[in-house]
Structure formats: structure tokens, C-alpha cells
Amino acid sequence: MTGETQALVEVAELCKWFAQPRRSLTHRAETIRAVTDVSFAIRRGEVLGLVGESGSGKSTIGRTILRLWEPTSGTIRFDGQDITRLSRRQLKPLRRRMQLVFQDPFGSLNPRMTVEAILATPLIIHEARLSAGERRERIAGALAKVGLARHYAGRFPHEFSGGQRQRIGIARALMVEPLFLVADEPVSALDVSIQAQIVNLLLRLKDELGLTILFITHDLAVVAHSADRIAVMYLGRIVELAPTRELFGNPRHPYTEALLSAAPIPDPTLQRQRIVLTGDLPSPINPPSGCAFRTRCRYAIADCATAVPPLRPVAAGHLSACIRADLVLGAPVKP
């Protein structure tokens, strides 16, 4: 783990469980364990990739550390301050320091507002004292940062393509000059030729503005080029965390190995090891005992069912939650 001064975001033993209402008098109330006992830190200026399949809890983590959802237990520290129990009023000055970029550039922009009005909203909330002229300047500046011409400010969202809308979503997040961005699947809804534009834009803005980014995605390849480190989630827990090249070249958790082997690579001549997982993701209402992945793991042994394996160091800066330290796992392509 990094030194105290370097981490912008520190999450310790975070849990977020959702209570399901009873479906009928004969049913018991159920709990969805979306995120359980997750700890990690994001260094200043770092891009941390948070990767997992649907239902793994990755978006829940993003929203809980922004305090959009209340954590069930655990602590969240932002810029050295414990924000876990802050009130709405106490949170407001911090909100402008941490912003969210959404997946769906169609659903996340109000269709009845012009781009100017969309971008002015964060300023009206956080910097009410600005004059109209100053506000216009800030809007033009944000549009320029994301590569859109100033005259687009008067248009409505439907006049833009998906890639341009995602640029507007990023500009909105940048209006209040944040330190930290949570980008939740920011390119998943976009065409292939546009995805690279948006990933490159985020990286350029990170360098120019000194941002720290939590990049949430289901697609390992998307963060392959952008993340400094990657955390892999399975059924609400982090199962592996390592620097990107280390994770790809030397995966230590069987689930990461399976994810890497399933990631499509557009080269039909590559000789690759194929691991096709059997079965489905178990339910987060009633997860398997011990290691949640054991029901689909080809290396599982009897001990895997007894206790939840802790996330522990296996090499410098490399954490894995697998009790089988003896395993030699395959990398997709040898580095």
C-alpha cells in the first residue's frame, strides 16, 4: 500500500449491502451483498482500473466512495479526510472535488437543456457568485478542453453524436475543477473508432489537469492502455490488484487468468490458451462459502470452501486472494 501522503482516495473494509424487501409473508427478507470488505487506495495522479463483470459490484464501489450511496460499513478517506459519516452540508464543498462521468451519453444529459445550461448547472451549485460573463468563459474553456467548438454551447444534446455527448459529459464533470473523477464505463456505449478518442482524451486531461481517475469497466482491454494499476472484482470482492503490466503478464488469481484468456484479441494467428468458465455467476444474495469463485474455478480444492481468502501480497505491489500460492497461471501473451 502507498504512503499516507500519496493516496488521494483510501477505502478500508468497505461494505455496501442492499436490503431486498420481502417478496411475500412467507419469504424472508434478503440482503444483496453488492460489495463486501473492499480495501484499496488510489494515488494522486493515478488511473486505477476497476474491472469486473456485471454484478461484480464495481459501479456500487464508484457510487459509494463518492457518497452518492451510503456505505453499510467501512471507511472512505478523501484527500486525507474521513468522509464516511459527513452530512450533506459538510459534503457539499467536497462534491466539487470529486465528479462522475457516466456510461450512457444519451441518458445522462437532459434533452431539454442546451449544452450551455447543462454545463452551467454545476457552477450555479458550487460557484454561485460568478457573473454571467465569467460563467460563459468557464463553459467555453471546458468545451475547448474536451475538443468541442465554442458555438456548440447553444445546441441541444440530440444534435450530437455519442462521442460528442460523452465529451459534453466529461466537460460537465470538469466544470468545477475536480481532483478526482470516477469514470463508470465511459466508452462502453461508443463505437470502436470513437472509444480510442475518448480514452485518449481522458488520459490527456489527467496529465493536463493533474486528475486522479477511477476507471470502471467490464473490458480489461480498455484499461490496458490507460490504467496504472488494475483491481479485478468478483462477486463483490477484489480478488486481485496489481500494476497493469504485472497483472497481464503474471496473473495470480484464477479468475483473472480466465478473464484474460476470454478477452478477444483481433489477431487470428495468436496461439492462445483458452479457458472457458462453466456455469454462471452465483447470486450475491447467497454467495458460496469461502472463495466465491471456487464454484467455477478449475483449480478449486476442498479448503477453498472453508474461509474467504484474504487479499494478500504475492509480489511487490501485487495482491491476490487465492489460497493456492503454488499455482502457475497462464498469461494471455507472454510479455
Binding site: E53, A224, L270, G279
Partner: protein, 336 residues
């Protein structure tokens, strides 16, 4: 190998408020028995419209107009132009000789009927088969597509299944009548990567067993490398490159294909330490306002003024059946 499906000079246009908008221009290809042809393109490329036109599922005239021929080799060996069949005969083709699966299995399945009833319905429509026999066959099909406890699953409803299981059910329905051609439109796009790997492995296995031909529509070049024998790349309603999968993905000739391949993030490139992704500037053109000449020239870094915007380039054979629609393919290959 016998040609199972041949499309000749297919054109599709839609009548809209902006006038008649052509969505597909002069598309020709063939699919041989036991072969997988991948149809690749981004949104608006015309790949899904091409598949719908083959099945005659585009809106009826005058809202949509189809030109050209779609020739299918029937079970009796006779070749028929699907465009000329009366609608009643076409219904015997759909789901029977040509099966189809779509991207979103949840919206393609009826939420108020059991899985068993929906598979049996497909069988009952095309075969004279009793209810009990249809359900026995339905259980066999669920077993074939790898659904555990198939007999119990017959009485499940779609919402009780995971996304991957629902897509397996869709495949079971598509295969119920042993089609000779399967059209799969983005069948794994809504699925997680590990589930996608399961479905691709299943399709390959089923193809090896049945010898069916697959037209696989996707935007994902990584998936193309996994499943395709041959590839057809579409841009703005036209085929821009076509060929066998290995030369097309390893030595592409059309600048659009090259750009796409370079902009795809790859886990193996990360291991080599590359960071910056190359990208194609600009955006896909509006089909109602296509640029003059080559539709790709405004985004192409090899475009030459006075050449590329003058006329739509021909689809040329660059050798070994590798087709490319670019005036400059030879210069670009020599320069690279």
C-alpha cells in the same frame, strides 16, 4: 464447398422525412457450407440492415425498398431467390432454413411464456409434430446448447435465467429446425467476456456438428478473430474490404480497416508497454449526406485531393480474393 447463401447486388433504401435514404449499396457476397462469414462495421454501416434484408424483415414498401437478389440453396438442393418468394413461402424459410439470433435475448423472448413453450412453438410452426414430441425435442435442444437440467428448465420463464442462459435459449430456438444458415446479429455484445467466450465456443461446436453456415454480425474485431473464416468490412453502407480472416486482420489494405485495428485496445499490446491508442478522427457520416467519392475520405489520412473525392472507388481484387475499395491501396501497401 457448396455455396449455401449468395447475395447479389443487394441495395436497401428507406423513405424518411429527409427523402429516400440509401442504407446499403450494392452488397454482394456468398457463404459456403460450414463457413462463418463475419460482417463487421460500426453503427450506421448497414450491417444489420443487410441481415434484415436477407430475411425480408425490413419494413414493407414503400417505407423500405430492396433491390438485388438473395439466393438460398434449399434442403432439396434447389436455389431460390428469396426476394421473389410470396410472403407465405418466406415464412417457411424464416426460422426453418435460416435461423436468426439477436443481440438482446431478453427482448427477443416472450416474458409470459415458458422457455419450453417458446421452443415448441418454433417446432410446431414448421414441423407436423405433437405437443409431447415437441417438448421432448425442446429438452434435447436445451441439452445441446449446454443448459443444465434441461427438462426442469422447460418450465422456467426468461426472467429466471441469466443473460448467457437466455442467449443459449435463443440459439436453441434458432436451431430447432436444423437451419442450413444461421444469422447471428451481435449475439455476444450484451454479454460479459467470460460468457461471450462460452457462447462463441458453443456456436463453433454446433457448427462443427451440424455443418451450418453462419453470418456473424459484429463490431468487435477481437470476436471476428475468434469465430470467422472470412470477413466483410462495411462502412457507410458499402463493403470496403473483404477477404479471408488471417490476411484481412494481419495485412489489411483499406485505411478504414487499418485504422479500426489500430484503435482497438489490446491486452497483448499493453504487455508490450504501448500506451497511446491510435484513433480515427471525425465520425461516421450521416447516410443521408454521404461525402462525395469515397465515403471514408474525410477521415482518411491517406486521402489525396483530386482523387478520393471524385468518384466512389470500385471494389477491386488485390489478389487471392482479397477485395478492397480504395483508389490508393497499392500506393499505401508499397509505402508501408
Amino acid at each position: 464447398m457448396t455455396v449455401q447463401l449468395e447475395v447479389r447486388h443487394l441495395g436497401v433504401s428507406f423513405r424518411t422525412d429527409d427523402g429516400v435514404v440509401p442504407a446499403v449499396h450494392d452488397v454482394s457476397f456468398e457463404v459456403r457450407q460450414g463457413e462463418t462469414l463475419a460482417l463487421v462495421g460500426e453503427s450506421g454501416s448497414g450491417k444489420s440492415v443487410t441481415s434484415l434484408a436477407i430475411m425480408r424483415l425490413t419494413p414493407p414498401p414503400p417505407r423500405a425498398a430492396i433491390t438485388g437478389q438473395v439466393l438460398l440453396r434449399g434442403r432439396d438442393g434447389a436455389i431460390r431467390d428469396l426476394g421473389q418468394l410470396p410472403e407465405g413461402r418466406m415464412r417457411e424459410v424464416r426460422g426453418n432454413e435460416i435461423g436468426m439470433i439477436f443481440q438482446e435475448p431478453l427482448t427477443s423472448l416472450n416474458p409470459v411464456h415458458t422457455i419450453g413453450a417458446q421452443i415448441a412453438e418454433a417446432l410446431a410452426y414448421h414441423r407436423s409434430i405433437g405437443r409431447r414430441a415437441a417438448f421432448v425435442r425442446a429438452a434435447d435442444l436445451l441439452d445441446l446448447v449446454g443448459i443444465p437440467e434441461p427438462r426442469r428448465r422447460l418450465s422456467s420463464y426468461p426472467h429466471q435465467l441469466s443473460g448467457g442462459m437466455r442467449q443459449r435459449v435463443m440459439i436453441a430456438i434458432a436451431l430447432a429446425c436444423d437451419p442450413s444458415v444461421l444469422i447471428a446479429d451481435e449475439p455476444t455484445t450484451a454479454l460479459d467476456v467470460t460468457v461471450q467466450a462460452q457462447i462463441l465456443a458453443l456456436l463453433k461446436d454446433l457448427q462443427a456438428r451440424t455443418g451450418m453456415s453462419i453470418v456473424f454480425i459484429t463490431h468487435n474485431l477481437g470476436v471476428v478473430a475468434e469465430i470467422a473464416d472470412r470477413v466483410m468490412v462495411m462502412y457507410a453502407g458499402r463493403i470496403v474490404e473483404q477477404g479471408d480472416v488471417v490476411p484481412l486482420l494481419t495485412r489489411p489494405l483499406m485505411p478504414y480497416t487499418m485504422g479500426l485495428l489500430r484503435s482497438v485496445p489490446r491486452i497483448d499490446w499493453s504487455a508490450e508497454g504501448r500506451t497511446e491508442l491510435e484513433m480515427i478522427g471525425g465520425r461516421v457520416p450521416d447516410p443521408a449526406r454521404l461525402p462525395a467519392g469515397c465515403s471514408f475520405h474525410p477521415r482518411c489520412r491517406h486521402a489525396l485531393a483530386g482523387l478520393c473525392e471524385t468518384a466512389v472507388p470500385e471494389l477491386l481484387d488485390a489478389g487471392d480474393g482479397h477485395l478492397v475499395r480504395c483508389r490508393r491501396w497499392n500506393d499505401i501497401r508499397a509505402g508501408a
